[in-house]
Amino acid sequence: MPESITVLVNGMPVQMQAGSIVSAALLKAGEPCRLSVTAEPRTALCGMGICFECRATVNGVRHRRTCQMICCDGMVVESDR
């Protein structure tokens, strides 16, 4: 059966199945990916790297498209709050 890994989303540990994308971890944590220019919370829309709504900071690097990034054990994900 599938292996489980842990990523930290805004400091909260989130268990994900290996191979999951980072956007899915943000959704599971119930955290928006980013705040828009008028401070609306946004989550992934297109799921395929086109819309840029899923941008978040991953391992200290800003503006990562989290829908095209696979979760690694111990990954640190931070979103706008």
């Binding site: 199945q17 994308i21 599971k28 609306e40 829309l45 799921g47 395929m48 941008r55 690097v61």
Partner: protein
């Protein structure tokens, strides 16, 4: 710098078929794709899918295509996105890993564009709420490990993708409240009967219907607003209409997309001729630019079978082989695409969905009211920043085309936001600054 006889951009079905065909005929082939793995959207990988017995489930067509690709000897470069075409027969691509970014120059003798399509999104009140996803978007997120078990989902918009998405979500134990298809039954009827001349598509349709036999499929219906729970801010319900009657559908999620639009940005940057929004190709998939071919959805939205055949034709022709044995099948698939377009034509009421305060450009939060006063796409960009955010108009461009009849003009590098340093450095292994240009 990497050089290949044939470079293929996009590792969906068309790109895989193209790369495989060219490599089998002795060409060195590099297949570049921005996703973590090959397969494109329709054959998207993700978390392993286990059935009830704990066995891994695979799509046999995808497995066969990927095996063919591996045995052909073509090289796959995943996680790299083409952002520029700085010189003749030259592309620049950027790879993003959790450690940083890497820029590489790619040189080719022949180039095959298999850049696929994206969903068309149309703005309506509430479409920016968390809990509202693209239809294919939600499917991709679920494949990527987002659990929807026990969630109530409304699937809405237009196109055959809605059925595929609903069937897929049902498989992952979501409860599908209904599928709202904006096209009318009379619009869809000729299309449904034309499916009979395409056996593989009929079987696919039947298996969706079997999965969804209890799910209401409401034709001539569309969403008019998504309502939040005032306390939590989360999606609470979707308001749907059939033009006469309006009703609320309580749900946890809305999966909504209005058919597909082609990804033609790279083709435009290379000066390939477009015809009514699609890349113009001849029967050998040649574009107007010498040694540049295009296959699959950018040449016309026609689905998986068309993508596979056109990809194979482009691969064969780029390797100096004849592909005449495939032309009649390609023509048949193109006719299927034309029927698809007619069946899922958008109704004019969809242009009236946004309220004055509804955001149209999600990157820059530009509202319908801001845009209604503008005269053209260029005017809107200059005055409101519509289309000037990170997606570069990929989402709001097609929306404003539907709403106002505007045509986005002039594609310029970078095709996607990249760090400024991507233009300053030569091919690099080193990490560069992460700020978006």
């Amino acid at each position: 710098m990497k050089h290949a006889d044939v470079i293929v951009v996009g590792a969906g079905p068309a790109g895989i078929a193209a790369a495989t065909a060219a490599a089998r005929h002795g060409r060195s082939v590099l297949l570049v794709d921005d996703n973590p793995g090959a397969g494109g959207q329709i054959w998207r990988g993700g978390i392993e899918n286990f059935d009830k017995a704990g066995e891994k489930r695979d799509d046999p067509a995808k497995t066969k295509a990927l095996k063919g690709l591996v045995s052909s000897g073509a090289t796959l470069l995943s996680g790299f996105r083409v952002f520029d075409a700085p010189g003749p027969s030259e592309l620049r691509a950027i790879g993003e890993t959790s450690e940083g970014t890497e820029v590489v120059t790619l040189r080719y003798d022949r180039l095959i564009l298999a850049t696929g399509a994206r969903e068309r999104f149309l703005p309506f009140p509430g479409w920016t709420l968390p809990g509202v996803f693209g239809a294919g978007g939600l499917q991709a997120l679920v494949k990527g490990g987002f659990a929807v078990e026990g969630k109530r989902v409304v699937v809405a918009g237009s196109g055959p993708l809605l059925l595929a998405v609903a069937a897929h979500l049902h498989e992952y134990k979501a409860s599908i409240a209904c599928i709202a298809e904006q096209a009318t039954t009379s619009q869809l009827a000729p299309f449904a009967s034309s499916l009979l001349s395409y056996p593989s598509k009929v079987w696919q349709g039947i298996s969706y219907r079997a999965t969804l036999y209890k799910t209401p499929y409401r034709t001539g219906s569309w969403p008019i607003s998504a309502m939040p729970n005032e306390a939590t801010g989360l999606l609470k319900s979707v308001q749907l209409t059939n033009g006469n009657k309006t009703w609320q559908e309580p749900c946890d999620m809305l999966a909504c997309g209005f058919h597909l639009v082609p990804n033609t940005e790279l083709a435009s940057l290379l000066n390939c001729k477009l015809q009514v929004g699609f890349v113009a190709v001849d029967e050998q998939q040649r574009t107007s630019v010498e040694n540049v071919y295009c296959a699959g959805e950018p040449t016309g939205i026609a689905g998986l079978d068309a993508a596979l055949i056109q990809g194979e034709i482009a691969g064969l022709v780029s390797a100096g082989q004849s592909a005449s044995h495939l032309h009649s099948r390609n023509l048949a698939e193109r006719r299927f695409g034309a029927r698809l377009e007619a069946a899922f034509r958008l109704r004019p009421e969809l242009r009236l969905l946004p309220a004055l305060e509804t955001i149209v450009c999600r990157c820059e939060d530009v509202t319908y009211e801001d845009l209604a006063a503008r005269s053209s796409w260029t005017d809107a960009k200059l005055q409101t920043r519509c289309g000037m955010g990170p997606c570069q108009g990929r989402i709001c461009g097609p929306a404003t085309q539907t709403l106002f009849g505007w045509t986005p003009k002039s594609v310029r590098p970078p095709l996607f936001p990249v760090p400024v340093s991507a233009f300053c450095v030569h091919d690099s292994q080193q990490t560069v600054s992460e700020e978006i240009a």
